[in-house]
Every structure is written in structure tokens, then in C-alpha cells.
């Protein structure tokens, strides 16, 4: 995710200081990793350097002085360019689950016993357990988005995560079926 564009987007609502930007970011993207303060300030400094944001004075609110930032015209143009641009679908989708399953199948096919207790990697059992872990997470997300008073950004981000986990589960289901067919063929031969 482009942190600088998201911060520019948050600044579009009016001047804000770093601490508040971090808070808003974490609230809008609850499923994302919380933003580190350090990252907020480096990003703001770069935005200022590039003329996309500017310092808008300070506000102390009784406590320590805090620098306020605002977006510039250039910043608004940059933001519009970003939001208008279609994101390229990822050319390769790969992750750890995929790698583990492929390697398990390879190792099983090679007939090499592995593991501390001499167990062979069992791709089908692995997929079942992975499905259970995915389902557990999907139940949590479903509870989160259906909780009374869940706000729109929580619902949208839970939907997004659910759709992606769902895609994983579908792939796991198909792969389990393919492995079953493959095993049946090997056993029949």
C-alpha cells in the first residue's frame, strides 16, 4: 500500500499532525499492520520535500507543540493521479501455502521419508489443516464485520480479507481433489 498517497488522502480533509494521521490510518485500515510513528514522520518529511505537503503551523493543545501538515495543490493533483490509476493485476500470485504443497507433493513423489519421526509429507493432510486455520480466521473476520456498530471501514476491510482467504480456500479445495485423483491413479497403476 502506498503510505504517502494514503497520508495525502487523509490530509485532504484538512490540516493534521502526525499523531492524528497515524490514528486515522490505523482506524481506516484495521486489517493492515499499524503504521509506525517513525514511518509517518519520514513520509511527511518526504511529502514536504517533494512539494506535495507543507507545514501549516503548530498546535500545542496545552501539551507539547505539534507540527501541523496540509496538502498542497500539487499534492491534490498527485493524489488524483494515484486514485484514477487502475492497479495492475498481480502477474504472479504465490505464497507460502502454495510452495509448501508443491514441495510436499514433490518430496512424496520422490519417495524420500523425511521429518523427525520419519513421516512423509502429506499434502492432503496439510491442506485440511490449513483449511481449518483459514476457516478460524474467516470466522473471526465474520464476527468482526457483523458485530453491532461495526463501521464501514471495518466491514470493507474484513470483506476484502475474507474474499482473499476464500480464494485460498477454493484453491485448496480444488488441489485436494486433484491430489485425490492423482493418488487414486498411482494406486491403480
Amino acid at each position: 500500500m502506498s503510505t504517502r498517497h494514503v497520508l495525502l488522502g487523509l490530509l485532504a480533509a484538512g490540516p493534521c499532525h502526525g499523531y492524528d494521521l497515524k490514528r486515522q490510518y490505523d482506524a481506516r485500515f484495521p486489517q493492515a499492520r499499524p503504521l509506525a510513528y517513525g514511518q509517518v514522520y519520514t513520509t511527511l518529511q518526504r511529502l514536504v520535500r517533494d512539494g506535495l505537503a507543507a507545514v501549516d503551523g503548530t498546535d500545542s493543545d496545552g501539551g507539547p507543540e505539534r507540527t501541523l501538515y496540509r496538502s498542497t495543490d500539487e499534492g491534490s493533483r498527485e493524489l488524483a493521479l494515484w486514485t484514477d490509476q487502475i492497479t495492475a493485476p498481480a502477474p504472479f500470485v504465490t505464497n507460502e501455502i502454495f510452495a509448501k504443497v508443491v514441495v510436499s507433493i514433490l518430496v512424496a513423489a520422490a519417495g524420500a521419508p523425511t521429518g523427525p519421526d520419519g513421516r512423509k509429507p502429506d499434502a492432503a493432510a496439510h491442506l485440511r489443516a490449513q483449511r481449518a486455520a483459514h476457516m478460524e480466521r474467516m470466522r473471526e473476520l465474520t464476527a468482526l464485520k457483523t458485530a453491532p456498530g461495526a463501521d464501514l471501514s471495518t466491514v470493507l476491510s474484513a470483506d476484502y480479507a475474507l474474499a482473499h482467504l476464500d480464494a485460498d480456500v477454493r484453491w485448496m479445495t480444488t488441489t485436494t481433489a486433484r491430489i485425490d485423483t492423482l493418488t487414486a491413479e498411482v494406486n491403480a497403476a
Binding site: A125, H126, R128, A129, Q130, R131, A132, A133, H134, M135, M138, R139, E140, L141, T142, A143, L144, T146, A147, L162, A163, L165, D166, V169, R170, T173, A177
Partner: protein, 246 residues
């Protein structure tokens, strides 16, 4: 982080338990030793490929089909030992069933379809229709009250069927792909209503679905594969690894 109701603990009593169910249709073995427990008030999802035996399982658990082998116990009573009359009574009073295919009475309006189980239980027409209307509302199909099944979309019929399954306040609902004809948002509305109702009245739900996003509304999931049920936690090694890494 979970805001769900606490999940029934493994010790809480089983409302329905099935052990070693086998059922064949000719040479097709639909169930090959399926076992499961449904606890009081629990929402249990049953996933699995098409043809794996999910609907057959539902028919056996709800006493509609007698398994060739194995035992189904409901509230301490073995369904297989009950006389037909008592079984019929149970099905009317304690069970609500949503079938996968065609189930509404074609000649009746949606409202009368939902009111029917109440009329059968001896309720008068006025109050029965009033209650039926409230259930249609809950599932977002009040506007279709006067339509006959032939005049409704697949998704609307499914919602009417759910309303009919719940109208008598059953202790357990068996729902076979109840969101199969719904898009994601309509499915979400139906599942929210179903889960809300189940939680409110501690109704147990056996939910058959091939959709993981629908299964995620349940407390727990089991997967049917070639007539046998497994839960992901059977594969304990992987589970522990996932927990360590997570």
C-alpha cells in the same frame, strides 16, 4: 478480538449425535461411516464436494431417510427405534428443514407457505399469518408475501423456505445450501438473520454449504469427503504448526 458468542465447549451436551452412518443407493455408497455431533445451540457447517453425501447426511439426521447402518440419537432417543408417528411429531415440533431443491407448496403464497407449519400445529389462521409475516420480514421478503413460488426468484424462495423452517421455533434447523441461489450481499443478509435467530433462541443449526464465506458464520466446520466426515483439527500436526507460526 472475536465478538462472537462463546462457543459451546466440547463438554456441553450433544443434541444430535450420529455414529457410523452408512447409506447406499443401489451401488452408490452415499455415506460410508459418517459420524458427527451437533451440540445444543451450536451452528455447525458441513462443507464438501458435490456428491460427497452432504444432503444424504442431512436426510438421515432429520429422520427423513433411514440409514442402512449406524445410529442417530436426538436428545437421548434413537431415531431408528422411534415409531413412525413419534418421528413425524418430532419432525414437526423440534426440527426445521430447508431442502436444497423445491420445497415450497406451489399453490400457496409465500405467506401461506410460512404459516402452514403453524396451522398444522393447531394455531388459528390470523395469528399464524401475522407470525408468518414477521418471519418474512426478518429474511427481507415481506414484499413477496402474496407471490407464489413460481413467481419468485430462486433466492427469494430460499428465504421463504428459511422463514418456514424457523417459524415454529424448532430446537434444530437443518439447512441444505440455504444461500446457494443468493449473491454475496443477499447471502450475508440471510446468514445474519439466521445466526441472529439461532443465537437468540439457542437453536442448533446444521448448515450445509460449499461457500467458505457462508461457513464462516458457523461456530465450527466439518468436511464431508466420499461419505465420511473429517474436521480440520483431526490433522493436529498442521494445526500446531499454524499456531506456532501465527
Amino acid at each position: 478480538m472475536s465478538t462472537r458468542e462463546p462457543r459451546p465447549s466440547p463438554e456441553s451436551s450433544a443434541l444430535i449425535s450420529a455414529h457410523g452412518l452408512r447409506k447406499s443407493y443401489g451401488r452408490t455408497e452415499a455415506l460410508r461411516g459418517a459420524s458427527l455431533e451437533l451440540r445444543e445451540g451450536e451452528i455447525l457447517a458441513v462443507a464438501g464436494a458435490s456428491g460427497s453425501g452432504k444432503s444424504t447426511l442431512l436426510h438421515c439426521l432429520s429422520g427423513i431417510v433411514r440409514p442402512d447402518e449406524g445410529v442417530v440419537t436426538y436428545g437421548g432417543e434413537q431415531l431408528g427405534l422411534l415409531p413412525e408417528g413419534r418421528l413425524g411429531e418430532l419432525r414437526r415440533s423440534d426440527f426445521g428443514v430447508v431442502f436444497q431443491f423445491g420445497q415450497l407448496i406451489p399453490e400457496l403464497t409465500a405467506l401461506d407457505n410460512v404459516a402452514m407449519p403453524l396451522l398444522l400445529a393447531g394455531m388459528r389462521r390470523g395469528p399464524a399469518q401475522q407470525q408468518a409475516g414477521e418471519w418474512l420480514e426478518r429474511f427481507g421478503v415481506r414484499g413477496q408475501a402474496e407471490l407464489r413460488p413460481g413467481e419468485m426468484s430462486g433466492g427469494q424462495s430460499q428465504r421463504v423456505a428459511l422463514a418456514r423452517a424457523l417459524v415454529t421455533g424448532p430446537r434444530v434447523v437443518f439447512a441444505d445450501e440455504p444461500t446457494g441461489a443468493l449473491d454475496t450481499l443477499a447471502g450475508e443478509q440471510v446468514m445474519t438473520a439466521l445466526v441472529h435467530t439461532a443465537r437468540e433462541s439457542a437453536t442448533a443449526v446444521l448448515l450445509i454449504t460449499h461457500d467458505a464465506q457462508v461457513a464462516a458464520y458457523a461456530d465450527r466446520e466439518v468436511v464431508m469427503s466420499d461419505g465420511v466426515l473429517r474436521s480440520g483439527s483431526d490433522d493436529v500436526v498442521g494445526q500446531e504448526a499454524a499456531r506456532r507460526e501465527g
